[in-house]
Amino acid sequence: MAKDILKRNNVTVFGDGPQVMVFAHGFGCDQNMWRFIIPAFKNDFQIVLFDYVGAGKSDLRSYNPERYSSLHGYAQDVLEICQALDLKNVIFVGHSVSGMIGLLAAVEQPSYFSELIMVGPSPCYINKDDYIGGFNREDIEGLLETMEKNYIGWANFLAPQIMKNEDRPELGQELTESFCSTDPVIAQQFAKATFLSDNRDDLPKLKTPSLILQCSDDLIAPLDVGEFLHRRLPNSTLRVMNAKGHCPHMSSPEETISLIKNYLGVIA
């Protein structure tokens, strides 16, 4: 069972050090996105990397539309990986939507986590009443359309999704090389689960201390959202980065590394 889960989520474990760090990728990518960050931690920590089911080199046959229709299904992936590796008190680093996935997991099983580090998180992407998430519904529809257009080049784009891949998971793999998500339908569902989620009510439930790494000038998680999170998350630290955009761990790895090390009290 544990073995199945490690295979299902393409879990990789390496590094030296007693304290475990779990790195979780965001929407649109896979564990490779941590490539520029990991070298700075692997000598002092045990590193756990994985792909959510449907992303990267995970086992597509395990994809269950019911389970992954909301972020709770993705949080189950995180919890099951912790269970499979018998992990407690891990430092969880989540990019983008993985900030909230980590939060849901930590609310459900507080003992698994000692720190949550969220890179560019947002509890709700859509503007609602007084809350400014940054987007409206049409923007998300537009994103889904853009995604569809970009998946058109895929060899098996015209093949009906539900019939393919079930017995031949390797079919999607060549495409993984270009996009990190392997299947247009799954990618669309992840987009919906991500951008239509609203976890604002879950924020006060978090007991685990957290670090919010907020980029300056991030379209997907604007500064107001970072401040909102900081106000609602008990025991949180907000650090506004010089890095711009939504992927500081790729655009400014040095700054990202030093802020994380600083927060964890590791000499940078």
């Binding site: 996105m33 019911e66 987007f135």
Partner: protein, 402 residues
């Protein structure tokens, strides 16, 4: 000369750095964007695109460039200064230029290809939807058939077991109770007539047996009684029960701390019994003079399906953590303490309380766990669904984002 060719090439060209600041733009792109080169250089390259394209840029395009060094045939939509949306195909490459990493892109305007692709996507969607519907219907039908058969078998088994249980409970309540009553009566009589030294022991054993029988009766009652679901205010219930318990255990002071607990759908009488049992355990197994109990309730989402594999419906559950710093128990017994008549301590009582708790929780489609460290603490965690009928609520909407 070459520069003129570059500026007016039949494709738009731009380059930006890691911060997404635009470094180079050719005339063709400036005119496509209905803008001037001077205006565009220095601006964030993201501003060239519509919002959906900017999201795609951040979540797909940028990671791809960083991880692979290039990206090809990316479909994005430009946003011109006058607000027009222009579909473009874009190739990009990362390279080193005057000492820093930059991303160079060229793009062509593809309005006709977009129309064609729109139709392609629409056709595929229609085909997919029809096929999906069909496949899913067939799958659902087969599954339904299988489940109905399983359900029928299970109902049959449950009926048999229920019948046996009823007979058993009849034995317990009548056939055992009556002789027991007589034994008690005659023991009392004999006690009046003679003064045999073992008589008080016999009387005690009898009393104990009576308690066992009535405990069993209670357990059986929980099995048979239909559950009456109403909204139960856990906050009020906890306080009410703590106050009652305080009167019963005076002068032992009970200090109860709890956060604001939600209202859930449940059987008021059974939930009261559950909380009373858990609280009185905390009092009974206290360490020292006073009993300090903490209750924390958190609403979390859990999968309602607990036995059927690969079925998911995430619904609201309240997680109640009842924590006391009492004498605790050896953690090796954590899996057994909910068994009938399982006693870990030499104390009054039958070892029935936690079995009743488990029964009540299971009657509500919840689950219960306990952890402890000897002489340190006990924590009983109960998960109860907030709503008993998922389909009355918005949960279907919650689990399917559409």
């Amino acid at each position: 000369m070459t520069e003129t060719l570059f500026e007016n090439a039949p494709s738009g060209y731009f380059a930006f750095d890691n911060e997404a600041t635009t470094l180079v733009v050719n005339e063709t792109l400036a005119s496509i964007l209905e803008n001037t080169k001077e205006e565009l250089i220095g601006k964030s390259v993201e501003t060239f695109f519509t919002v959906p394209s900017r999201i795609f840029f951040q979540t797909h395009f940028f990671p791809m460039i960083k991880l692979h060094g290039y990206a090809e045939e990316i479909f994005l939509t430009l946003l011109t200064a006058k607000g027009k949306h222009l579909p473009v195909l874009l190739n990009a490459k990362q390279m080193e230029w005057v000492g820093k990493w930059i991303t160079c892109c060229s793009c062509i305007h593809v309005p006709n290809r977009k129309k064609f692709e729109d139709e392609l996507v629409a056709a595929r969607k229609t085909a997919e939807a029809a096929l999906q519907e069909n496949t899913e219907l067939l799958k659902a039908k087969a599954e339904l058939q299988l489940r109905t058969e399983q359900l029928d078998k299970q109902i049959q088994m449950v009926q048999i077991q229920n019948h046996e249980l009823q007979q058993f409970s009849h034995v317990v309540t009548h056939n055992l109770k009556e002789p027991l009553r007589k034994i008690l009566m005659y023991t009392g009589k004999i006690a009046n007539e003679t003064a045999a030294p073992s008589l008080p022991k016999l009387a005690r054993a009898n009393e104990q047996m009576k308690a066992v029988v009535s405990g069993l009766q209670q357990y059986v009652w929980l099995n048979e009684k239909t559950i009456d679901y109403t909204p139960v205010d856990l906050n009020a219930l906890v306080e009410e029960i703590a106050a009652q318990l305080q009167q019963d255990v005076n002068p032992v002071p009970i200090s109860l701390q709890h956060n604001l607990l939600p209202t859930i759908e449940g059987d008021q009488a059974q939930l009261a019994m559950l909380l009373r049992q858990l609280l009185s355990n905390a009092v009974k197994f206290r360490n020292g003079e006073s009993a300090r109990v903490q209750i924390e309730g958190t609403v979390i989402k859990q999968n309602r399906f607990r036995s059927v594999e690969n079925k998911y419906a995430f619904a609201d559950f309240v997680r109640l953590e009842i924590f006391d710093k009492g004498i605790g128990f050896d953690p090796m017994y954590a899996d057994h303490i909910f068994e009938l008549f399982r006693k870990l301590h030499q104390s009054e009582g039958l070892g029935l309380g936690l079995a009743l708790c488990k029964k009540i929780v299971e009657n509500h489609q919840g689950h219960i766990e306990a952890e402890s460290e000897l002489n340190k603490f006990t924590k009983v965690t109960v998960w109860l669904p907030c709503f008993q009928n998922a389909y009355d609520r918005n949960e279907l909407k919650l689990s399917g984002v559409d």
